[in-house]
Symmetry: C2
Subunit: 334 residues, 2 copies
């Protein structure tokens, strides 16, 4: 990767699962003029897959590629879940982590991976030793960088939403939330609003869990028992922390600029409103890691992979946000 | 109430809790020209409260009022919860039900009531006999008309959403849903799309319960165990029924016209996206009752009651919808 002789930040993009739309949205995003000049980009993936995606989409690949050559082009079957694709996706990530650890890049944008493929690979490799299930990029990056507390912020023009719990069954949510986890999420949300988005006095509202926020305990007491202590603790320490709010009011309020961000208690509470408005241009930002990491707000889209019809909007926004935050950090540290 | 000598439908509006914003939004809504000519209106409430609201809002009360005179004007304290206000709210409703039962009105629009006031009244009246808690208009009207299956549709220009469960703690939702309840909700939703909204072949999508609709059972099996059987049964009987869908995708799809309505499994799943977009102009339509009933999508708003600043948009839309549906039913039955 070219070291920063220019003032541009250095941004790594991992291609994601070779059988998904990662390569396609990457080449399409980097081909657009508004994006291509924002940073020195290094795409980590498989040259043959990237070239094929470029040809199919009718765009030139004028960016640096670190070719790990672990998928042969003729064996590639788009839309399939296979352990070798999982291995490739993990190797792109591990390579990116090495470069980031050496301080030779400012930010990471991750293309979508297929959890099933990665878990097939991990199972094959580590069996019969017990292996840790791959839960997702965020958990993997946190584990590899020994980061205890991470949070994902879903970022769009008009909404910023952080989740306290993610991929767990709805029935397990009430038992899974703790005041401490909510407090950490508030803390990380606040830090990123300040340092990444330049909001000096962020206003953050924490949603309740139950309809009408439990209506004074009539249906559910988690607001009082679990959420309120976290809100009080954070409000005392930082100020500008509100809640627990009525869930079907707080997102309307946030959209109308009453708050800078909402802390949502469970996955769909935050993502139903976010994705309804930003299905195509939403971005994930992971905060707490020792580097900037963004990703598009969609998966591998196996149903349309290899067809050349994937929409790069979310990848573009993910790259744009990574570049913006990396440039800002650069300025601060110099 | 004037019997229909004109072709206009007859619509009853109950004033709701005297201490809330019901009277105010009613007089404001009926004062607007676009609304006042739509039907023969009869407002059931307290004349003194209505006149005061009219004076405060600077509008004339040019509509019929059935004065139950059960709240004295000088005792009225806006924003307070009191058993006598609860009694008044219940008496307005009971009077409306008698008129509707006699077939002398086509539709009912209910102003917001305060559950606490009504329950204080019921407790005082029936104590020490065990009394049934007032759960809300919908449950009360269903019980009084001996209707077994009712559903509430939240109606706006671009979204129609029905709820399977309503005011229960989130932790109780997974145990409370049954295939039968979901099937009945689909059935009522479909009937109202056909008969009220004139959609000949409605497309209805049922949401899943868990993030990613459980991702094939990885986090939650209610989709397969409870929701899918209801969807299959309804799809076989009616056609045009889809799901269980990924919750953070289905509302985006509905907003983009892929479906005519979404059946949401729990309160906030449906109301977070609905209220984010239609906080002010959303309307509730209750289906399954022997008459048309709509209501504004807000409560008594005790914090602003008596100040003359309440927004009548949702009440206007509730009246407009009631008039439109009543006119349609009228045309059908003649």
């Amino acid at each position: 990767m070219p070291t920063s002789t220019s003032n541009k930040p250095s941004v790594i993009i991992t291609m994601g699962d070779p059988a998904g739309i990662g390569a396609e949205v990457t080449v399409k995003a980097l081909a657009s003029r508004e994006i291509s000049g924002l940073a020195n980009f290094l795409v980590i993936g498989d040259l043959s897959v990237i070239e094929k995606a470029g040809k199919r989409s009718g765009v030139r690949c004028g960016f640096d590629i670190l070719d790990l050559a672990n998928v042969s082009r003729k064996d590639l079957r788009c839309g399939r879940s296979r352990p070798e694709y999982g291995r490739a996706a993990i190797e792109y990530l591990d390579t990116a982590l090495e470069i980031l650890k050496k301080g030779r890049a400012d930010a990471l944008v991750t293309g979508p991976v297929n959890k099933a493929s990665i878990n097939l690979f991990l199972h094959d490799t580590l069996y019969p030793k017990p292996y840790t299930l791959f839960e997702g990029h965020t958990e993997y990056l946190a584990a590899r960088t020994r980061t205890r507390h991470v949070a994902m912020i879903f970022v769009s023009q008009d909404l910023k939403i952080t989740l306290v719990t993610r991929h767990i069954a709805l029935k397990d949510v009430p038992g899974a939330i703790t005041s401490d986890a909510i407090y950490r999420t508030i803390e990380l949300t606040r830090a990123s609003l300040k340092y990444f988005f330049g909001i000096r006095h962020p206003k953050i509202c924490v949603s309740g869990l139950n309809p009408h926020a439990g209506e004074g305990g009539r249906f559910g007491d988690e607001e009082k028992r679990v959420i309120l202590p976290a809100v009080r603790r954070a409000a005392l320490k930082f100020g500008g922390i509100y809640g627990p709010a009525v869930p079907d009011v707080v997102f309307y309020d946030a959209l109308n600029k009453k708050y800078d961000a909402v802390v949502a208690i469970y996955h769909d509470q935050g993502l139903i409103p976010f994705k309804m408005l930003h299905f195509k241009d939403g971005v994930n930002l992971t905060v707490g890691l020792p580097f900037i990491r963004t990703s598009p707000d969609h998966g591998t889209a196996f149903d349309i992979a290899g067809k050349g019809i994937a929409d790069p909007s979310s990848m573009k926004e993910a790259i744009r946000l990574a570049c913006r935050l990396a440039a800002k950090r650069d300025r601060c540290s110099r």
